[in-house]
Symmetry: C2
Subunit: 340 residues, 2 copies
DNA sequence: TTGAAAGCGCTAACAC
DNA sequence: GTGTTAGCGCTTTCAA
């Protein structure tokens, strides 16, 4: 199976065509300093005329680098992609990476086979670093990458004592702020719809919720807590459950804005007005919720900054061979929209 | 910037460790035939002991191939990702590619810069082929890839005389079938919500709709056609518009199931019952619509087959240097669910 | 400022 | 069956 166009011009041919040495051509195409302007132009003309394109495999081999980083998603439910959380992060990563001249490649891992294939790919040096999103607590992939001494940065921790480098939002603080806000509004019957509680992010948000209530000296029973899987449908179900248990509910902290959207539907179906009767606050900043409910308050995560921070940490790991871990936790911001 | 672990063992060291030649090690790690079992085991032991991982850049350079293909999305609106259309295709591509030992990498292209960067990447030989999704009519990327003699396969055509290899669904036939079905049900006031009419897929579906009506000798005025951008919101708007123009509407062919979901909302908001008063048929097979409206009929595209076909065409192009283009159009299937 | 030369680590063709 | 060897196309010293 011959896979590459056979007659592609090489650097050597360009050199011959321009009447210079190989090294000089290399310098020109890499924008290295120390080349006479006239020489540079002659080389550039030869490049144009021959339609020369550098062979990246050769460059990788000689330069010991791939000029590419992978963004890995182990989430089997790709519906996730729809979340602005995802697209914002990707956008931000793309922008941050643009300055470095690296190619961002997305990799979806759904099976053990794919996981192995990616590991070989990464350990084979096809990428200089790996960014991982939505890693579950029991996922060992980050460890395996770290063991292979590949620069690796997680978005979100797997647990409180994550040791692989990561960037995370202050989920405890965000939830606490949201609940405090509700308390200040005079709400007292505050329930919460959590994410999957085997995920650290969900645990943190639940903790923030509990902290704020405890601080206000309020009750804090499990019957005010319902679990969701971050989907709209599960939010709807959780809300219905909560309403059944506590019809007096006057506020809800939801796992995400998608979940919040589900909660909204359930509330409306039950004849409650939002936010007059029941206030709803979700995490992230889901445009859908924003569109259907512009007055909804949310806990906004600094997605743009989180992406940039991930790239920064990755670069630091690449530069520095000391294998130090770096952790960045970014503050969230409560965006208050409703007037009531 | 030193990016690769420096002390990684090479094939040469494995050979020395196992007391064999380089070629033998190469044969073993590539599962080539013609190696004595005892030798193979000795090599494998050496590989294990040294933690050897092949350098993929060297392999690429020597073997003239990358063992990777890119799936490119030029769609700036990543909300698309949510569609099962996308995730199903990716799943199917992943499965088909698994057999070939190739790595699938997703690439998102939003800006001209990213487009250029990807072109260099692909022309530099980092991928053996390119799969393109949701390409707009005025996108020149496929031509540029084809010019670079890179095996390229599109999902969907840019126009009726697309010449780059592609896999597409029979959109005209699908729409025609759907409308015929409605006519057979006794519906006569049939409107359609199209996709963006600068996309060939939308033109085809509109044509199928018109064909079926013409064949039945029915009127066919533009006032029964409303355009959407495949989103739920635009579907809702389009439906409202149509209802205003023609309150007597008793059926709608929608651009996609997402659009159909929007249409449903608009219909319900207007007090119509579905499918009793108004039948709705969309393309694809959107689970959301399925969940909220299990009785909804849809035009199902053979996504699984489409993915497999894409990989097949790509392989053929890689095998065959003759630069022939291959086109595959797959039949759609009307999945009838409502009883009325 | 530039050319020449030594690899980077692997595959594949060719000997033995 | 297995070892040897000649590249693959580039980057990067090292001289000139």
């Amino acid at each position: 199976m011959v896979r590459r166009r056979p007659g592609a011009p090489t650097l050597e041919e360009v050199a011959a065509h321009a009447g210079v040495g190989r090294g000089t051509v290399s310098r020109v195409i890499n924008n290295a300093a120390g080349v006479k302007e006239s020489t540079r132009q002659a080389v550039q003309r030869a490049v144009e005329e021959l339609g020369y394109v550098p062979n990246l495999a050769a460059r990788s081999l000689a330069g010991q680098r791939a000029d590419a980083v992978a963004l890995v998603l182990t989430e089997p439910d790709w519906r996730q992609f729809a979340e602005p959380f995802f697209s914002e992060i990707v956008r931000s990563l793309g922008d941050a990476l643009a300055d470095t001249g690296m190619q961002l490649m997305l990799t979806l891992i759904r099976s053990e086979t794919e996981r192995q294939r990616f590991l070989e790919y990464a350990r084979g040096g096809r990428v200089d670093g790996v960014l991982l999103m939505s890693v579950h607590a029991d996922d060992r992939l980050p460890d395996m990458l770290a063991d292979a001494r590949l620069p690796t940065v997680l978005l979100g921790r797997r647990s409180g004592d994550e040791y692989v480098s990561y960037v995370d939002a202050d989920n405890v603080g965000g939830a606490r702020d949201a609940v405090s806000h509700l308390l200040k509004q005079g709400r007292t019957a505050i329930a919460t719809i959590t994410g999957p509680l085997d995920m650290y992010v969900a645990q943190c948000r639940l903790r923030g919720y509990q902290d704020a209530l405890a601080q206000a000296g309020l009750m804090n029973s499990r019957s005010w807590v319902a679990e969701s899987d971050f989907s709209e449908e599960s939010g709807r179900r959780a809300m219905a459950e909560l309403l059944e248990r506590h019809p007096e509910i006057d506020a809800v902290l939801a796992a995400s804005d998608t979940t919040a959207a589900g909660a909204l539907h359930a509330l409306r179906a039950a004849g409650r007005r939002v936010p007059e009767d029941v206030a709803v606050i979700g995490f992230d900043d889901f445009p859908l919720a924003e569109r259907t409910e512009p007055r909804l308050t949310t806990v906004r995560q600094p997605l743009e900054e989180m992406g940039r921070a991930m790239v920064r940490l990755l670069m630091e790991e690449m530069e520095d061979q000391s294998e130090a871990w770096r952790h960045v936790i970014l503050r969230t911001k409560l965006v208050v929209r409703e007037s009531s």
